[in-house]
């Protein structure tokens, strides 16, 4: 993906980062859906941080006397088959989705950036690394994560790690293709000619110019990581049952769909809303940072 629109203003100046954010801010203002996405995402992050103070009770406290109550003033979303307060569980569940989404986006893009930058520049590594990436990419990401998690104990860290591994090849591909066009730019040639060492060229001249597309990609990775985490938790290969996550809340209520459908509805709505908000934010950012792509999609 070559994007002259991004490469030009960002060139090699200390203001590169500032330009990126200014460009982003300017266009986002014209995208009400992206703003809405950002607001909802921010709300979810706040819910995740302040879950204990949002009128919740202990999401794990079991009370068989009040099993499967419908929503009421006391239990806003009702109670589940063990009498646990579903509202509390859903609020605490935000922690898992937000953590996994952001952590995978961070770990996945940083790893992908590092590998992509180096392979784009070092010819002999390129062939080997890209074959490995092609191989990893041909394993459907849910299966890849399942296979990795089945080896270890289910824990939040392992879930993040497994999903991130599935996402890395996509970032590597993107970064590598950017680097391949960037390295032909005159200012990179000039840097090489003036004897700048490779690590410095990568960090000072190449890295800043990959930021815009990578940032957009990171947003989409965040959304897809949230979905993958929910899928893994739902089929019993993700977040352990003692940490409520939207996926495992739905898994536990699976058999009750005919008598207590709301148990499945609330976590499902929260999950979809959060992923939607991240996607809207991503679309807005893509439009802001890559006008050429925006026209097409």
């Amino acid at each position: 993906m070559d994007s002259p629109a991004i490469a030009a203003p960002a060139a090699d100046s200390p203001a590169a980062a500032g330009t990126l954010w200014r460009q982003l801010g300017g266009t986002l203002r014209r995208h009400p859906t992206a703003i809405a996405g950002g607001v909802v995402l921010l709300l979810m992050v706040l819910v995740a941080i302040f879950a204990p103070w949002l009128g919740t009770t202990d999401p794990l406290s079991v009370a068989p006397v009040r099993r499967l109550r419908p929503p009421s003033a006391q239990h806003w979303f009702g109670t589940d088959m063990l009498g646990r307060d579903v509202y509390s569980r859903v609020m605490y569940g935000a922690r898992v989705s937000v953590t996994v989404g952001l952590a995978v986006a961070l770990v996945g893009t940083v790893t992908g950036l590092a590998i992509g930058l180096v392979t784009g520049f070092v010819r002999w590594l390129d062939a080997i690394v890209m074959r490995v990436m092609d191989g990893l990419m041909s394993i459907p990401s849910v299966l890849l994560a399942i296979a990795l998690i089945s080896l270890t104990k289910a824990s939040l860290g392992n879930v993040i790690f497994a999903i991130a591994i599935a996402e890395v090849p996509r970032v590597v591909r993107l970064v590598r293709s950017l680097v391949l066009t960037l390295r032909e730019q005159p200012y990179v040639e000039a840097a090489i000619a003036s004897g700048t060492r490779l690590p410095r060229i990568l960090v000072r001249h190449i890295l800043p110019n990959t930021m815009a597309p990578v940032l957009v990609q990171a947003t989409y990775i965040c959304a897809s990581a949230m979905i993958t985490e929910a899928i893994l938790s739902f089929i019993g290969a993700g977040t352990p049952p003692d940490i409520p996550s939207w996926g495992n809340i739905m898994a536990e209520s699976r058999s009750l769909i005919q008598i207590a459908g709301t148990l499945l509805l609330f976590p499902g709505i929260f999950l979809s809303l959060t992923v939607l908000s991240v996607n809207l934010l991503g679309d807005g950012m893509r439009d802001a940072l890559d006008p050429r792509l925006a026209r097409r999609l």
């Binding site: 089945s150 739902f234 739905m250 499902g268 939607l276 996607n279």
Partner: protein, 313 residues
């Protein structure tokens, strides 16, 4: 063409090699000692060592990889720990429901996505366009099992039009087969449809801006004929490409959809295997699905010359 096909087929070998190495490494690293399991509770250390040697488990990594790969090439995917049956047999028993679900989903998704994408592009900026784009964003955001349960709650629990779950083989009649397939294939197909519709629209917008489309309109060709005859055919390559790439999405979705609807397919086999830590099954399924993904994309590559005769090999 044949030479090109063979060359492309050869190019998939390193990719599948990486997949095989990855899957084997998982098997190699998987906890638990198969020799100890086979030997039983009263076996001595020597018994276990003897069994380990007879299974070749005491060999170094690459020797074991070679043995495993050789067996794999002869169709041996290993033996399930839990049932003691060959993995290939277990997968074989589950192929039909998964194949049925995947084909129904493909039909539903492509039959809806392509016309919607074409319409959206033809009326760019209009309400159909906005609607299609909104559905596309939603389709990316609602996880397959959330949509599945929403559909079940509405159409199966509330309205009682369709069964809540289960599978009925097509050999037992077409009516029950379809009624069991509608909800799973719609739930599974939405994300895929969103993806295809979005690319169809984008690709059509590119083609519709071309001169020959204006010429076709100018010579008085019916708008429908211009869209399908001239534009869609030339917009086809990105569409078939995304159909191929999207298969990965579909495969992940199959695992979940079969769980939601209690369909006894390969996905359900995988989920049961996770709960029982039956590693050979997980690895066999991973290998199989990856191979299918690679092959489908190879076919997509080869199909390009059908859509664009200028592409010769």
């Amino acid at each position: 063409m044949l030479r090109y096909a063979l060359r492309r087929l050869a190019a998939t070998i390193p990719v599948m090699g990486v997949v095989a190495l990855f899957v084997f490494s998982l098997l190699y690293l998987s906890p638990g000692d198969p020799a100890a399991v086979i030997a039983g509770d009263i076996a001595t250390e020597e018994d276990i060592a003897r069994i380990r040697a007879s299974l070749g488990l005491d060999q170094p990594y690459f020797v074991r990889f070679g043995t495993w790969l050789w067996a794999l090439l002869q169709g041996d995917l290993g033996t399930s720990i839990f049932t003691g049956l060959p993995v290939s047999t277990l997968i074989g028993q589950r192929v039909e429901p998964t194949l049925a679900l995947t084909l129904c989903t493909l039909i539903v998704a492509i039959a809806l996505a392509v016309p919607l994408g074409v319409l959206a592009a033809a009326r760019a900026g209009g309400w159909i366009d906005r609607g299609v784009m909104a559905v596309a964003v939603l389709g990316f955001s609602v996880p397959v099992f959330v949509l599945a349960y929403a559909l079940v709650l509405l159409f199966a629990v509330q309205l009682e039009w369709l069964p809540v779950q289960g599978y009925s083989s097509i050999t037992k009649g077409f009516g029950p087969f379809i009624s069991h397939m509608i909800l799973p294939s719609v739930a599974l197909g939405i994300t895929y449809m969103a993806l295809i519709a979005r690319i169809t629209r984008a690709s059509m917008l590119d083609v519709l801006a071309q001169d020959y489309v204006r010429t076709a309109h100018a010579k008085g060709l019916a708008p429908g004929a211009v869209l399908t005859g001239h534009a869609l055919k030339n917009a086809a390559i990105p569409i078939v490409t995304i159909i191929g790439i999207g298969i990965a999405l579909l495969i992940g979705g199959v695992v979940v959809t079969e769980t939601v609807f209690a369909i006894p397919g390969i996905g359900r086999l995988t989920v049961d295997a996770i709960l029982r830590r039956d590693y050979p099954i997980i690895q066999g399924v991973t290998l199989l699905f990856s191979a299918i993904y690679v092959l489908v994309n190879l076919l997509v590559d080869l199909s390009y010359s059908l859509f664009d005769p200028r592409i010769r090999y």
